[in-house]
Symmetry: none
Amino acid sequence: MNDINGDRLLADLRALSDIGGLPNGGIDRLAWSEADLKGRRWFARRIREAGLEAREDSALNVFGRLPEASGPFILTGSHLDSVPNGRRLDGAYGAVAALEVLRTLVEARDPLAERVEIVGFSDEEGVRFSIGLLGSLALCGELPLERLRDARDLDGVRSDEVLVQAGTSLDRLAEAGAHLASLAAFLELHIEQGPRMEAASMDLAVVTGIVGVHRQQFRVIGTQNHAGTTPFALRHDAGRAAARAIAGVEELVQSIDAEAVANVGIVRFYPGGVNVIPGEASFSLEVRHWDERVVRRIVDAFSRRLEETCREEGCNASAELLSWVPPARMDEATMRNLEMACQELGQTAGRLWSGAGHDAAVLSRHVPTGMLFVPSAGGVSHAPAEATDDQHLVLGARALLRAVRVSASRIK
Amino acid sequence: MNDINGDRLLADLRALSDIGGLPNGGIDRLAWSEADLKGRRWFARRIREAGLEAREDSALNVFGRLPEASGPFILTGSHLDSVPNGRRLDGAYGAVAALEVLRTLVEARDPLAERVEIVGFSDEEGVRFSIGLLGSLALCGELPLERLRDARDLDGVRSDEVLVQAGTSLDRLAEAGAHLASLAAFLELHIEQGPRMEAASMDLAVVTGIVGVHRQQFRVIGTQNHAGTTPFALRHDAGRAAARAIAGVEELVQSIDAEAVANVGIVRFYPGGVNVIPGEASFSLEVRHWDERVVRRIVDAFSRRLEETCREEGCNASAELLSWVPPARMDEATMRNLEMACQELGQTAGRLWSGAGHDAAVLSRHVPTGMLFVPSAGGVSHAPAEATDDQHLVLGARALLRAVRVSASRIK
């Protein structure tokens, strides 16, 4: 039986990592940037070099399949964009491994190759417009068009301008959704991006579900005043109220659910003078858990706590919902299929929920979807120190090949 | 006897408040900004319109005096710059009142007018480069040139670039110090910027001393990581460590001295992504008290507390001293002179220490210096709601006129 060409897989990963490569070893292929588009062109070229047909949809997702194939397809792949100062595996690994899987099937003249399509998704990371998953949302007809229309990137450039410069447009984006009807299932291979597999000595893990991600922006209003002349007792210090709330996030979350996580990644005090009591403070809060009810309880509890703190400090708080991606359950039959593929390789896969969002979360709402993880060294991701050893990268692709074969054989 | 022209004083204050005026009624004349420079040109024009000679030194302090006068002088005035989103009286009141005092002496053909000089100082607030009092420090030959050379403003513009654009330069700044030898005393009229006069029904207060102001910038280093995949137990969250330290500032300060105050006015988390655990956090801490030993105890206790917190969070902290203005005692004879000036008006002045820093703190290290306060409505300052009623504004200027006369008559 033909198997994955490990050297070719690793060489392709290295070749792609040269595109958007930074002097510190990191990668910057911010969605729809010049480097990202160059990465997409590289992926399409490698697809064609394998004798496959490459196609780019209106969201700039890049697809590959046999020229004569007509579906329905098992879709497999991941995203090609990266966070700024990220590394070469997040997303790229699943897309390049998918290409290697289909190449292997084609070389083996496996008739199942006709039932397989591969994909490199657009803007999964969401750094450009603070939305994310836009490639898979476009494919699944779930685009948040209103929000995207109003969005500007970090440099203040309007989303439509970015899209037009990349070769598409806001108005065309929804066309990508026509293809969904041709898909029978989705399989995504990805690095874990966390420390749990390494801690448990797992080589492969089947993902049971993907956490829901709830993002809010809070605004605390107090009274701006002179920091030298206003006694503590007469202050309404928005900065102090915010700091108290932020300082208590971990304890609050852990008291509700030990597996939930939350993050305050952005904070600003206004007007921002060393000698001015902050009249306003703003901060973001992100909450993640695989059970929607737990997310809700944490969000509610934090709001109550913040209100209480604001009452004590003579301030007022308001919240704005930035985004809510509900938790996604992976398909049970597909999970078993993935586990059996691992067993074929003599591996016992663990089961894990994913703390990171993935294109698979979007696809899972439309077709049976499964995900497979390989370990991340030190659990590091979204940073230049992200790494997975070569053996695990090849092992993951070999398991994906087997799972794709079984899934393809089951298409009616 | 000629007296202050209250209407003219109030009209001048209104005219100056049009420069850098904001739609919300606030004022933004950030040091050396276009609005600040416009305010200085306005002040120089009003000086010349009074038949006086206007002079700008290398620090862009604006002086006014009779053309034929040669000193030594009683200097009186305050600063012309404002905090962003401040209001029209902080600083401007003392400068405009000084102009009205000298105008009144000139109109009365009082020979003492020759012994009086007025000033509108530069960058007292210190918002631009987090240093402050730069105009009076330049006049007194105390410029922190090293620190200023390295400073950048909130937009990242280098201090020298700002100065050159404003019409001077770092290299020229020290020239301002030549004038100090011509000064015999300094009198500064200012709004209280705090709630104590109103609470005690004081119409005028003589300042006994000015708090020492200690400013530091703290930097907490943790580990940047993925907020969805990194369990709380494995995080080194620089944002959380900073928030915990900031949340405890009030309790820590109050446990050491009930009259001390402190403020955290600036906070930033890096890299500043909603889904990225902060790998770094920075914040400012300002501590004020009229006893240097109390300031030292608070600063030391906070550093120990922050280190402890960082140890618990797996982070590291470092501190940079931004500035240290020691407490200043006002001159006893000048204080009595100010009290007698108030008595001439049928007023019994209170005595207060000042929680706000003032140019008078710098001048007091070189010449006999005194300060007079009028009340601030609600104790509000550094905010658009800052206010003092017209009667108090005129009363303060009348007391200043009398004190200037007595001080000038005593010059040997």
